[in-house]
């Protein structure tokens, strides 16, 4: 069992959720109610990472992140190193890949909040920000939990993109899925099995926890009568 890969995977998933879900909430909210020009276009764009095969995406990211490229070069000149073959790099990739998983369920949840409940909040003097925090987020909670679960779980299992831009560096970019793949390739089926089982058990556990949470906080959210 590769504990280092395990902890790395968890860190990656946690950071992805932590950074992505708040952004996704803002985007989803704007798409649900805002007067966003070219809404359909933007929605399609957000779906993009879902459509591109992970390795294609990975390849383009590799090109974009390499120190010789414009993006990679700029980042290098600012942070001292290009994002390729680093935790930062796979985190950025993970954020991009998970965008649709985070935005879609939250957007649907926001859209499901009755208009007059939001209006009641406005009339009660709640600023847009307070309305979001106290009314919209609690009511959209099940959708947000969906997004967290999808993003977290998907990151745990993310493979293609990381394979391409990670370089399998122990403790830096060798996440569990890559480690498992290595084992399979090396015909170490037993080793792969142990790690897969660990990943599986852990994911099942975390999903179950998240869902229980959803039910707890979500109580009454569906009680629109």
């Amino acid at each position: 069992m590769d504990w280092q890969a395990f902890s790395l995977t968890l860190q990656l998933a946690a950071w992805t959720v932590l950074l992505l879900v708040p952004c996704a909430m803002l985007i989803a909210r704007a798409l649900a109610w805002g007067r966003v020009p070219m809404k359909s276009g933007i929605e399609a764009l957000i779906m993009l990472p879902l459509v591109l095969p992970p390795t294609v995406l990975g390849f383009y990211l590799l090109v974009a992140f390499s120190p010789q490229s414009a993006i990679g070069g700029t980042i290098k000149s600012i942070f001292g190193s290009a994002p390729v073959f680093s935790f930062t790099g796979i985190l950025i990739a993970s954020l991009i890949v998970n965008l649709p998983f985070a935005v879609q369920p939250i957007q649907r949840a926001f859209e499901g909040i009755p208009r007059n409940v939001r209006e009641a909040a406005f009339v009660s003097g709640l600023s847009p920000w307070q309305t979001m925090r106290r009314i919209e987020l609690p009511l959209a909670w099940p959708g947000i939990v969906s997004a967290i679960a999808l993003t977290f779980a998907h990151t745990l299992g993310e493979f293609g993109v990381i394979l391409l831009i990670g370089g399998s560096i122990p403790g830096e970019t060798r996440v569990l899925s890559i480690a498992i793949y290595d084992r399979v390739q090396a015909f170490d089926i037993a080793g792969a099995g142990v790690m897969s089982a660990a990943l599986l058990g852990f994911s099942l556990l975390s999903i179950a926890i998240v869902h229980t949470l959803a039910r707890r906080r979500g109580t009454g959210a569906h009680g629109f009568q």
Binding site: N116, E119, S124, G125, L126, R134, I135, P138, G220, G223
Partner: protein, 363 residues
């Protein structure tokens, strides 16, 4: 301009648009005035309240409160609902489904510190007689209980205008009475305009300083309750105000009309020409039952006919009387009905007070 009296027009509403909801209203109230908004279902009452609250933006409109302009489509002023500081009871309550009753109310007072907020929220709930239910969620409350939470929430914000969209429709008489008294005392205490949408004419008459009648987005009439009841401008207003003794008539001269086979004396025919077809209203106040048989036939406005129907509702009976084709309706106390032995098919005679008879344009 509207604020001609002393500049303290508290709330002035002007909205005009054709579609999708036709609106052409211009209403202004004084500070501390309670204005009842009545009108048939779908006449635009809710839309007017929503416009004042900033939840609906009419094509053309001007809304100002205490001199402050909240909406002016010409000048591109459009304050947000938050800035407007209104208390609004939604027709369908619109409570926050995930919060308890007390939190629903407290949330409208975010500017107050949290201890005071909770205390005041509890106080407000007590004021609408919801003690003990403050920790229930809306889904665990009955219809009337929800409505009262909505009322408490609207009061919580210390509003500049109070907008009530049928705030008592779901509460029973016993619960409603104290609530109405709350509203009346609030009305006295607060120097803010209150707009009350209601379907209960008695409620409107009892509580309101003035009543505004809407129909298809137009103001039909606006005035003191008795004004509307005794001198409605149209048949529609009369019927909305609960007046059913209405008939067609012809103006004969300055003080006489012909109504069916009767020639009746009236206080004044207003600006109706002789020969004009009019619709005439006999408010209940001007109808008094005379003793049959007494020979007053010579007397002006003395009619005699037959009771067609008696409908009993509680302490009262409504008589439907036919005087040679002129049908009048009159509500009498059960006591009076008993004393006078009023019964279906019995003969009856009434005298009409000329001053009370009211002429309207023909329908």
């Amino acid at each position: 301009m509207v604020s001609s009296d002393d500049g303290c027009t508290a709330l002035s509403i002007e909205c005009r648009q054709h579609a999708p909801i036709p609106l052409d209203v211009s209403i202004s109230t004084r500070a501390g005035e309670l204005l009842a908004l009545i009108g048939p279902s779908g006449s635009g009452k809710t839309t007017v309240l929503r416009s004042v609250a900033g939840l609906y933006k009419p094509r053309h409109g001007r809304i100002s409160v205490g001199g402050e302009s909240w909406l002016d489509t010409d000048k591109n002023i459009d304050m947000s609902p938050q800035q407007r500081r209104v208390g609004l009871v939604f027709q369908d309550y619109a409570l926050f489904p995930h919060l308890s009753a007390v939190d629903n109310v407290a949330l409208a007072m975010l500017d107050v510190d949290s201890v005071t907020r909770q205390r005041r929220a509890e106080e407000l709930l007590a004021r609408v007689h919801l003690n003990g239910l403050s920790h229930r969620r809306p889904s665990q409350l009955s219809g009337g209980e929800r409505q009262r939470v909505a009322l408490a929430r609207a009061l919580a914000r210390d509003p500049k205008v109070l907008l009530l969209d049928e705030p008592f429709s779901a509460v029973d008489r016993m619960t409603r009475e104290p609530l109405k008294q709350e509203l009346a005392s609030l009305h006295r205490a607060l120097d803010i305009p209150i707009v009350l949408v209601t379907h209960d004419i008695e409620e409107a008459q009892a509580l309101a300083d003035r009543i505004c009648v809407l129909n298809k987005g137009n103001v039909m009439q606006i005035g003191a309750p008795d004004d509307l009841r005794l001198r409605p401008r149209t048949v529609g207003v009369a019927r909305l105000m609960g007046q059913d003794s209405i008939a067609a008539a012809e103006v004969l001269g300055a003080t006489h009309i012909r109504c069916g086979s009767y020639i009746l004396e009236v206080g004044s025919v207003g600006d109706h020409e002789a020969g004009a077809k009019v619709t005439v209203l006999f408010p209940a106040d001007c109808i008094s039952i005379s003793d049959v048989g007494a020979e007053h036939t010579a007397l002006a406005n003395y009619l005699h006919g037959r009771i067609v129907e008696i409908v009993a509702t509680g302490d009262f009976k409504t008589l439907l009387m036919d005087f040679d084709g002129l049908v009048l309706r009159l509500k009498v106390t059960a006591r009076e009905a008993a004393q006078r032995n009023l019964a279906v098919d019995a003969k009856i005679a009434v005298a009409l007070d000329p001053e009370g008879v009211h002429l309207m344009r023909a329908e």
